[in-house]
Amino acid sequence: METIPHHHPTPAAPAQPAAPAGGTETATLNIEGMTCASCSNFVEKALSRTPGVQRATVNLASEKATIEYLPGQIDRAGLKAAVEQAGYGVHEPVAPASPNVLASDQELDQRKAEAYQKLKRRFQVAVGLAVVIMPLSMLMLWPRMMNLIPTPVLNYVLLALTLPVLLYSGREFYVSAWNGFRHRTASMDTLIAVGTGAAFLYSLAATVIPHWFMQRGIMPEVYYDTTATIIALILLGKVLESRAKSKTSAAIKALMGLQAKTARVVRGGQEVDVPIEQVVPGDEVVVRPGEKVATDGVLLSGHSAVDESMLTGESLPVEKKQGDNVFGATLNKTGSFRFRVSKVGAETMLAQIVKLVEEAQGSRAPIQQLADKVSAVFVPVVVMIAIVTFVLWFDFAPEATRLPLALVNFVAVLIIACPCALGLATPTAIMVGTGKGAEHGVLIRNAEALEKAEKVTTVLLDKTGTITRGEPSVTDFVPVTGEATDRLLPLLAAVERQSEHPLAEAVVRYADAQGAAALSATAFQAVEGRGASATVDGQAILLGNRRLLIEHQVPMTAAAEQAAAQLLDQAKTVLYAAMGGQVVALIGVADTVRDTSVAAIRHLQQKGIEVVMMTGDNPQTAAKVAEQVGIKRYFAEVLPADKAGKVKELQAEGRVVAMVGDGINDAPALAQADIGLAMGGGTDVAMEAAGITLMRSDLQGVVTAIDLSRQTMRTIKQNLFFAFIYNTLGIPIAAGLLFPLTGWLLSPMLAAGAMALSSVSVLTNSLRLRAYKRTA
């Protein structure tokens, strides 16, 4: 230890008259470098002598100084200086404005690992000794052996073997029970400590003063084997529990681990690898094939396919081109590209997902209410039942055996009771369930949302953007003059490439998908509300609505009229193309149904859920789409403002309604529904309004969400049922309730085994959810 200066200069704070009492403020400083009680005394004195300080107390254990001071005379910096001048440091906690949820607490993990190792060692010692104590205790079953070793000697040997189990392996139970006792709280450790403590103390008395027992006609039996075995079994339960528990948060750990460690940033024209923490918004980052995208941003140049499955659960890579958003932790597949960083750290999509899952795991599940109430009084009540058990056995058992019987049943009651199973039943299932959801791109906001989703009887779908893609695409290309599509399409696409209209984009996408050659257009002219004209390959081309052609005096042919009528009948938008003053082709454009919609809707219906569609379209279009995807009931011509009303209408029919929408203009409907599912992922508005956010832009996510919620809730119910039944049956049996009828008594060792297995069973049941696979 460093030498302590005996005369330390006080900080140069001018002496001022004392401020009126009551004007003090309190500061807490984290002191570093204190190794013993004299250090803390020294710091305390140094602070107390500092002008302006009214009172200072330093806690060695928490390494904290609590200082009352007069703000007029000294401030926090002055206090810090006083500590530093005394030879110690002050650790200023950096106030994290937005704590980065992705920075997993390595120290915490390390401590947990250490605690687990320690627990395992304690268990091993307990088992090692218990396997010696058990057969030794049974020696009395062989009278010949008993003649060789006198009972008192054997008892002392057993005592010597049991002491380490108690003092090393079981120490924590007693320490914890004592700590709780001082706070007038009781936990599971209280039960174990009282149970094993009673068995041990009785045995100790029987070993040291056997005559006292014999004078009263009681055999001085010892229960060292019971004591050691209970501790070994409960530690076994704890080891298994600790192992299983760490798995419940595996999904969120995996999410956190996805974050890239470095990014290749362009700085001063050079590509340099920098740690992710140093990347700031506005940086330009280079991503090569096979690399992880470092953080969120907007693609500047290059194009590629990016695997976003880790965020959205969508297994197919997503095409990315200039202007598209890219997200941190996703995997670049084919091409290389550069992007401009838009978000870092806690702002990124990955961090938002982690935060949402963490919050869901910390939320309260209404189903757990009863278990919580029981837990709160559980231990004291069990202690009371054990006392009653003892008294009843003592009063009613034959005189020679009443004390050992009362004791054994008292211990059995304390040991079999397992409040842990109750406490673990709900949260472990919710942790696994929400983690599993995130893996599939289903973000569950809280436990209540999970409970609601389970009860859903009706799913209301907003057509546009959910069942359909929400953007127009070309469905029909009809040449009407015999001119080949191969020749026409490149010409028309060349015109549309110049346009920014959504319909034009649809034509370009279609042409690209068909592999049409890219030609260039000249003399491009957009005609507001009509379409566009341009010259391609020497041909004057018109492309737009019917009005455009009429205004350019292009006559309609019979073939064109017929094709147009057919397309309009299918509720499609028709684009007319003319070349050299003649109609050459018609293009049918419509919002198309997603490939996955039909299957997803069928899955929902198979689960007994009615699927209802809602759309702003006219009844004909609505009927077409509904028929196409197998929906029987739909609402057409619903104004955006009436969407919430439709939800209410369904609710009035006694249905539990899940509303699926894109989250932006559906917010009131999402909020009105029993459970709102926002699709299309990630926008803050959607996440706010919805109980469940679907990262994938298709209806399969709805199936996954409802499926997963049903399975999770089933698991929770199984767990709670088991935990309640276990305790309500186990405690009376341990108390010997069956003895008058069947002669059954439960050995405390069996009770310990049952208790260790009960909490592990609940955990294992929750972990079964990890095997959840989404349908299709």
Partner: protein, 125 residues
């Protein structure tokens, strides 16, 4: 019923009453939050077989930082739940874990250990 049985029975009844009184009628240790210079309401809470203080008073609308110092290794207290604020946090043994949140509404909110046996309450005024 012999004398010993009478004594055991009376002692048992006495013990029952004691257990009930001791655990169910335990007094609360109340502490009001202290505002730091940055306007954050801070309270230091010792976690050792329970929470002390176990009733925390804070004002609404101001950020709160609860500093939980876990002075034990026993697994009962390893998790801290504040479900009304969607918080579930691991407390490292012999370390201070700061939990920050913003209480918007007045009311009494429970905080408990992972098994709901150790409990305290947050009173937002």
């Amino acid at each position: 019923m012999d004398t010993t049985q009478l004594i055991v029975t009376l002692a048992g009844v006495g013990l029952l009453a004691f257990v009930g009184w001791f655990f169910f009628l335990a007094p609360h240790r109340v502490a009001a939050a202290v505002s730091s210079s940055a306007g954050i309401q801070q309270v230091d809470i010792m976690v050792k077989g329970g929470y002390s203080p176990d009733v925390i008073e804070v004002e609404r609308g101001k950020p709160v930082q609860l500093n939980f110092y876990r002075d034990e290794e026993n697994s009962c207290s390893e998790e801290l739940l504040l479900p009304d604020f969607n918080i579930r946090r691991d407390l490292a043994p012999f370390k201070t874990t700061a939990i920050e949140f913003l209480p918007q509404q007045a009311g009494t909110f429970a905080f408990t250990c992972g098994m709901h046996m150790l409990r305290g309450s947050l009173v937002v005024k």
